[in-house]
Symmetry: C2
Subunit: 657 residues, 2 copies
């Protein structure tokens, strides 16, 4: 017999309050408020197959309000995903449990995105919806035809990134994106009226969205609203009026139920209110069976899709892209060879564009873009058409002045799969995107950040635009590979590494100003892959090793020449990536950075951190204050970053040794 | 004879295009488009007196679209500010010029805020408008009664922070905030239609704003629109329809005029179009005279205000607050004394609240708040009433889930003067606020960031909520003082230092978990002022110095005890602030961190950077990966951060030395 929505939903409520209670930690309020709405979603609309969580044409479901993680854990358990098991639920928020405090894509197959940092789930969903439409335009309805669903709370809607995300979605008319807003009017501080007076629905309409309202606690009304949302060609906001902690007779509708266990007494009272007689973590057989049926609804569709995929001529290509495999033999070797033949004195941002010319021709899965700095970031290449609401097959997104929204969307695209996103802004504005860069690293998405104007070398725009702490601060983020190439050759090498890195994000810091090509000889391997390598070997007896990155490598080479002229042998080590260098074995590192020399770092940014390679007795040349507004050459002089100023200091130090 | 708006405005246009041309760098488009509108603003509405740029009751004028800096430099020159001179304008964007690429509050008196990072100028203006209403509610109309005006471009409106800022302003009904939107429909990539389809006016209305439109090139229409804005009790958006680069016959209305010099030929053509016959940097006498008159309009009002201030009983108190002087004898010594008497084992976030109890009672100028984490950040104290649209005299702002908007608003409050803002969120969400924290540091605003849940010690919320790289990455920002106190006593000391620091921001990282009070003896001075100090001196012959911060200091103390039990003498250095420690003289630093010992760092965050104090031969205990979801104690064990796990490793290393 068919179970009522409420009864099915109460299974979610019970598991959520019981797991939070067992952990003595967590957020029962949201799952209890949204249980009916998600029950309708999973039962009537969501295309999914728990036996095949990576099915490429599945609908994506993103719990943007990630603190309500017990909602998705309950749903996954009930519908038949291999994990979480009941024991997993019992271990909610405990060490080594797959049921972490917030949903994490790397813990459970079926979690589409790691959420919790508010607003970003929805913004990633925008990227998923872009990827879906793009692949649909490329491969057709038979192979790509799914929706992206989001549960968002007031926090997701108040965060600034919401504006960027929905602006992009509205502009691109992403009709397959549907956001269920848990409109419960409660935040941690209390009622939403403490901090906001906005008409959310009017704002969404102003941004090109379709808005429909429903009683989130009334299954039939939710079903109607979702139906309207599916029908409308615009992205939809489904405003679900709910009561936080619904079912908890004494706490529902208040902020006390947001982020704390209900307590044993209140759970007992809630069980009575909900007419839920089973003990904790025990589910009635008929409920288990009914949810299991819901979980099986998608299998036939998935099988039919697999048959279509197998029969389609473009099936192999789609499978290659969704697997994330680069085309056989992809290499920038030819491009690098031509640079060696004809050296270029160009900015590395221009070198990046040259590399991208080759990359975009060879990899149809790239989707480029910029946060409104296309002519400065050099992210567009010839022949790349814009991705627009009228033509989703384009491969270049004009993200607008939305660095954070762009970065989160790129995470969503990468999580969706089938595309490799890259996007640009000025390096200083990595700060605006930093929460998304962190989520790239945590989720290990293959996203390439193209960050130009990477130092005081950008010149006149001045200290608001000049990165000082940025390169170093990005190196601190676990799993993020930061590249700062020294010339056109290293830029191509770093691009190759970034694209080959399938298990995490890369960030390439690029100069505005022209740089001499320091790599002029054919190499048998990608030298940047070592992270740091001896670019110039000392001619006289080696007493100094100069370590530099990016635009300062040519300065280091000039310093070395000045030292050699004084009979002091000096190696120059180019270190485009700390992370890659630290991954080399000890023998290699000791060979590149020997103990018995004066080590010197040169980088046009903070010197804090360089003690890692030069030690306490080494010299660190850099900038430990904010920059200034002036032509680049004047600034390098002002901050002492010229060979003429550095060489005498190194000389004095080495002679003092 | 009265000059036409257009003729006056053309002086701005000419100076802007000439200065950008001379610098061969800059943005002529915005000043040329908005020249008429700002001419009306300065002539008819703005309350200012160039001879007294710090007059507390002046209107605030914020150029949020900071790239159009020649607009404000031209206006300041024309209306009679001491600087910039004509020579300053000629030196636009050159080394040591006060006319930097973007307007900087520390370069010129009269620049209210450093702008350029888009969206933040408007968001800071919201803070200024909050401070104005708060002081008005406290000191009355006679002493505080001014407006905040903003020029914003499409970038300012597309950035996510715009949503947070206008949401806060609309909610607080900041009717004295008026934003002139330069609606020129052009961004760097091209027409705004490339990336946005939103109905900006409808969005602002949905957020509680009054919206009025005008032809931004028609002085009379602008005057009407500003009049309506002044009249309306809500914050106002004045949508000024303009043409970017107006007056440049071949380039106006296109993105080519946004960020590049016009070129000599086009400047010549523009001069003809604008009927502006004077050569570069030469102004007609009647224009100079007319602008000079505009600059003198405010003097009488300023003098009358000064007379009222002198006569008012509360005048001295207002002057104290606007000067930024703390009340005579302000000290947390009494509070610290009581902690020494009765040691507390509490979380430092709770200790922070205890300190705030004393602070908020002693300093009527503090305005606290939290980005919707009040019960977690412990930022509210007894008796602090909320600052609301109905009662601006309150001293606690429920900022909502708007970390970035809160931080920018705090910058604006501090820039306005008369108040000392502090605000809280989780430390991990410092990333969301980072661009504003950077502007606090660059602008040297007295803002105190209260960042709780400062490590894996927050436990179950897991890696999305656990700071790893954050403390270190914040230390890299120049001018920002980062504190990570170890217990309740250090927390009070750090609060004292943060409040006494009148020339820059402080950030206090605080634990969620309870910490043993390690400071139990009366000290004759504020030990945290040294940044790092010997908390425990070795009993046996000293062979180890353990350096720790925050919650890891008690672990270091336990490690030291274990080492002493083995006959190895070990100092414990508590280092609540790197910046303060680095400011000490070499003798002090060498005494605290001697050369002839094994140095060991313990901090529950990235170990990158700690080489600065422990060198290449030292040991660094920390976490160089993302965290995990589990109870805090389990996580400390998992990541090896217990005395039981650390002591044997130190012992092995020291015995190997």
């Amino acid at each position: 017999m068919s179970q009522s929505t409420r009864h099915l939903a109460n299974a979610i409520r019970a598991l959520s309050m019981d797991a939070v209670q067992a952990a003595n930690s967590g957020h029962p309020g949201m799952p209890m408020g949204m249980a009916d709405a998600v029950t309708i979603l999973f039962r009537k609309y969501l295309k999914f197959d728990p036996t095949s969580p990576k099915w490429p044409d599945r609908d994506r479901f993103v719990l943007s309000a990630g603190h309500g993680s017990m909602l998705i854990y309950s749903l996954m358990h009930l519908t038949g995903y291999a994990r979480p098991t009941l024991d997993d639920l019992r271990n909610f928020r405990q060490l080594d449990s797959v049921c972490a405090g917030h949903p994490e894509n790397f813990e459970l197959e079926g979690i589409e995105a790691t959420t919790g940092p508010l607003g970003q789930g929805l913004a990633m969903a925008v990227g998923m919806a872009i990827a879906e439409r793009h692949l649909n335009a490329t491969f057709g309805d038979d192979l790509v035809d799914h929706r992206t669903w989001v549960i968002a709370g007031d926090g997701c809607l108040m965060e600034g990134i919401n504006h960027e995300a929905i602006g992009l979605a509205g502009h691109l008319k992403l009709g397959r994106l549907i956001v269920l807003w848990d409109d419960n009017r409660i935040t941690i501080d209390g009622p939403t009226s403490l901090s906001t007076s906005e008409d959310v629905k009017a704002r969404y309409r102003a941004t090109g969205w379709h808005v429909v309202e429903c009683d989130g606690l009334d299954g039939e009304d939710v079903e109607r609203a979702l139906g309207e949302a599916v029908f409308d060609p615009r992205p939809s906001l489904v405003a679900c009026r709910t009561v936080i902690g619904f079912g908890s007779p004494n706490k529902q509708g208040t902020h006390s139920v947001h982020g704390s266990p209900l307590g044993a007494d209140e759970i007992k009272a809630a069980r009575e209110t909900l007419e839920w007689i089973n003990p904790a973590f025990e589910l009635p057989g008929e409920i288990v069976a009914a949810w299991s049926e819901i979980g099986k609804q998608g299998a036939a569709e998935r099988e039919a899709w697999e048959a279509r995929l197998a029969a389609a001529p473009e099936g192999l290509e789609l499978s290659r892209r969704t697997a994330g495999d680069l085309p056989e033999g992809f290499s920038l070797g030819g491009h690098i060879g031509s640079l060696i033949e004809t050296p270029q004195k160009i900015a590395t941002r221009v070198a990046s564009q040259l590399a991208l010319d080759a990359i975009n021709a060879a990899l149809p899965e790239t989707i480029g873009g910029s946060a409104d700095l296309t002519p400065s970031n050099n992210t567009a290449t010839k022949g790349l058409q814009p991705l627009t609401a009228e033509d989703y097959s384009g491969r270049y997104v004009h993200y607008g002045i939305r660095e954070f929204g762009m970065s989160a969307a790129m995470n969503g695209m990468a999580l969706h799969g089938g595309v490799i996103p890259y996007g640009g802004t000025f390096l200083v504005f990595a700060d605006y995107a930093r929460p998304a860069i962190r989520l790239s690293a945590l989720q290990r998405t293959r996203v390439v950040y193209v960050m130009t104007h990477d130092s005081i070398g950008l010149g006149e725009d001045g200290p608001t635009h000049q990165p000082i702490e940025h390169v170093m601060s990005l190196r601190l983020i676990p799993n993020l590979t930061v590249f700062r190439p020294a010339d056109a050759v290293e830029t191509a090498e770093c691009w190759q590494l970034a694209l080959e890195r399938s298990d995490g994000p890369s960030l390439i810091a690029l100069s505005r100003q022209n740089l001499r090509q320091v790599r002029t000889e054919v190499a048998s391997e990608n030298l940047s892959a070592k992270g740091g390598y001896r670019l110039v070997a000392a001619k006289a007896a080696r007493r100094v090793v100069l370590i530099a990155t990016g635009s300062e490598v040519e300065i280091a080479a000039d310093v070395a020449a000045a030292l050699e002229a004084e009979g002091i042998g000096a190696d120059v080590v180019s270190m485009p990536s700390w992370e890659a260098f630290d991954d080399q074995d000890e023998a290699y590192r000791a060979d590149v950075l020997p103990d018995d020399v004066l080590r010197v770092s040169i980088e046009a940014g903070t010197t804090i951190g360089w003690e890692r390679y030069v030690g306490l007795k080494g010299l660190r040349f850099g900038i430990d204050r904010f920059g200034a507004s002036a032509p680049a050459g004047d600034l390098y002089k002002k901050f002492g970053l010229t060979a003429e100023q550095i060489a005498p200091k190194v000389l004095a130090a080495v002679r003092g040794v």
